[in-house]
Amino acid sequence: MKNSSWLIRGLLPLFGLALFLIVWQVVAGFYNPVLVPSPVETGLALFFLAVSGQLWEQIHLSIIRGLTGFGLAVVVGTPLGLLIGLNTIADSLFRPLVVVLQVTPLISWLLLAMIWIGFSKVPVFVVFVTTMPLIIINTIQGAKSVDRQLLQMAITFRVSRRRIIWEVYLPQVIPYLLAGLTAALGTTWKAVAMAELFSVNRGIGAGMAVARMNLETAALFAWTILLIGLGLLTDRMLTYLTQQKLTHWK
């Protein structure tokens, strides 16, 4: 049993990857590399980025920015989501705010962000603003799905409101929060790249902007693959962490 599950978890994705690369290579054959570079060309572009030293510098910056924005969103979004989920008044007051955060497009944010916080922090701001609603919405839904019987129990035994939130609400909100975090972390890298593309000189997004300008589609693909790698990496880490720490009692 354990053996075969290892095989499945290990080999299947590899097989999927191989299939994908073959299809890609075939498709690329039909187009000019300006439109669709082949996997080989993309690989070469990636290699050149790496040897030129650009790669590490840019990725490094983007990671810091992404994680800062994401971290802020978690720190602000989780309590806010709980508050909205628990309190009707907070719901009325903040719910529209969440929608505003979610719906306002980058262009409109850019203007305001530039005034308020200066350019260099725009990527952090954009990540914050795009990921926070995902966390808030999931936390709200989690808080609303809390078992009333357990709440009644805690109230009867006069457990303090603070501890009820930490020890009764939070553990039940966690699966929802996890969904929110997974979604938010995925979005983070995209948002960083987007914001960098618009506003700053360095980072993965800036690299993409240059590649795009020069019609170096292979480099653009290389950066995209880096982003995807980053996304997969953080997704795995999140999964690993949560399985270890958060849901061991299930």
Partner: protein
Amino acid sequence: MIRFEHVYKTLGKTKVLQDFSFSAEKSKIICLIGPSGCGKTTILQLLAGLEQVDAGRITGTEGLSISYVFQEPRLLPWKTVADNIAFVLREVVSPDRQQELIRKYLTMMGLYDYWNNYPKALSGGMKQRLALCRALAFPHDLLLLDEPFLSLDIPLRLNLVRQVAGMWRNNPRTIVFVTHEIMDALLLGHRILVLSARPATVLDTVEIQIPLEQRDIGKEPLSTYYTRLLTWLKDESVSKADSTR
């Protein structure tokens, strides 16, 4: 003295209590016996303040520290056996005393070996016992017990009934105790209320004057009470069988 005065309570569209009154003397054990679905749990929820009356009033529960064994175990699945008890003790008892209480009650219920287990690893009866531990360990003025000995084997149940009686003798407080076991009611109750089917009315009030430690089920005078209660319940059974057919 806790009193229900002309209480009305509707849950959803079900009229559960209609002009319902009774009183429970302070520091005595009162037992509620009645057919399934008649409103016993509702009465406890009202006492605990988890539901509000629609009309009438409830007096004598103000400011009381309440401990409650719910009809379901209501354990926190993400906390270990010991932490489920510590959860309710944290704010009322010093850390040392917490450990002491947890040890004492887990031992009493035969759960000491499961200290670090999570509730999913407990059997049905063990969960029930843990809920009982939690309620007994929590310092209280009023204890609400909703079928606390469910899923327990007879000797264990009798043992626990004796333990509760002992605790009450050491430190008498008001206990409201819902059960379907006449035996448990006879062994623990100072006053036994026999309730009718919904809407609940009090069919009979049995006062038992014998001290708890002298009660013996096989012998007079307890066996006369037994017969009296059984008659009521048999009657009920007739009327019930009618209504359900």
